[in-house]
Amino acid sequence: MTIQFKNETFRDDFTFSNSPEAIHRFPFPFDKDQYMYAVNIEQHMPGPAKSATEFPIDIDEHYVSEMRDRALVLKADPLRCQSQPHMITAEWDLVELLMESMAKHYPEHFTLTRDGDRWHWINRPLEIDQTFTFGDAATLPLPPMEYVTRQCQGDFCLLDQRNDNLWMDAGIVTTQADWSLDFDMGMNFMEWHGPVPLAHDMGVFDRALKFLLNLQQGRPVRRLNWTMTVNPRLDTSPENYHAWGIDRTTVTPENVGDKVHLRVELQALWRLPRSNAIVFSIRCYLIKMEELVTIPKWGRRLHRVLRDLPPELVDYKGLTRFRDTTVDYLARHDDGAPTSPGFFPD
């Protein structure tokens, strides 16, 4: 099926919106009416047709505009893409993973032809036609990780595995929920999760790390994470926080439905074949409140989750200034009816 790519913005005039189909396939992250941290990792198996997890790498109607936004972020701040020299093999592993997956599942948009090390990549939406030698960085116009991730939705981190830990030694991060790749570069798994409240004492990160160190090739896993963002801004970086933080004070009862967005990260992890590194992808989905409540179950459920969220999480997720206004809005879409178990719309 051919995707109709939208022309929209994630900054300035914020023209981003979801089509009815995109709303229906939104990866809603709550399978019950309350939320607390858990090691909610599952196999990254194909989900239902047309869902965000139907294919390992999800390309959707926002693809072209998101790639344009990424290019703008990188132009303003090249430190959003960094890689240590020992990660070059993992970079090529990532090229293979993304190109193979995109070409296989979206053949009308992407084509990959391999003749030994001679690869031919065609990206029709971005009008790219590139022949290169796999493993020879001089045959690409950009370093391999940057080249391929400028053409794939989602942030990507490459994690080296050594000393029974995972190390963030490469990544491209332009759609982040308030964390800095530049600051966290070179950190291990425990260190980069340092600022997260509550979860350390619950043992969440010990268990997650143990699990990930044993991640097998060909058996990727995924989890959902979430926060909320005022305006459909992909680049909510700490680097630019002094510019976008003020957005959080602009929510009123009149504009809350349009301004406040649920921000969901579909995080997936793959073991890479040559480097034994792990790729950690963080794909961001945004949906505004007035779109979300068109699915009655989601309106009811998000109302209850937000209303009952522990105060530490309200603070950590940066919701303090607009949570109450959002809860009031959602309350009007919650008739108190019971909700069915699971994530999907009724």
Binding site: M187, G194, P238, N240, W244
Partner: protein
Amino acid sequence: MLVSNIKSRPVYGGLKVDDAARRHLVAAEGEGALAALAAFTGRPEAIARATVLYSPGGSAPQDHAAKLGALGFDDLFVMPSQPTLITRLNVILATATMGARLYAAGVEGFIGSVVAAGMAHGIDQASIRTEHRGSLARRVQCVHCKGMTDNVTVSPVVCSHCGIPLLVRDHFSRRLGAFQGVSIDAETPGDVPPAEELYA
């Protein structure tokens, strides 16, 4: 020893002499000299194989450099500042051979600089022996302009480069040897709480 529940902050395990090392490379700053003295006093074999780089900084009146000199290290460089010490350390690391052991003692920002220099020369950061001595002052990186501000004892602190008032987050980067500073008034422009002395 500096005890902390900050997950990203390294644990400074103390300056224990590695008897198997063929060469001891000791970088110390200020009160860190006392850690080097405590570790090496009474160890003539180790002293004969030790290169010590020392920057007195605020401890100059105590003249720890004289005490280090009296111990008779094979080589002692007393440097006028931390940056010149790191420059000299880089030269020594560039020609260091197998069996060299790196040690760092002093304030946290200094330890971070030494560890970063070691890592740049291929030394596993976990193998570097470190001891925190002296003030709890933090080195802070402004996440906005990436400028470093040294000897920070208060939060919020004004970035010495771009002037943004920064909240000092309890998040430490070993690579940068610094804590993260983030705008404190982005959501309330101009409304900056008074600076509190936190890390004296």
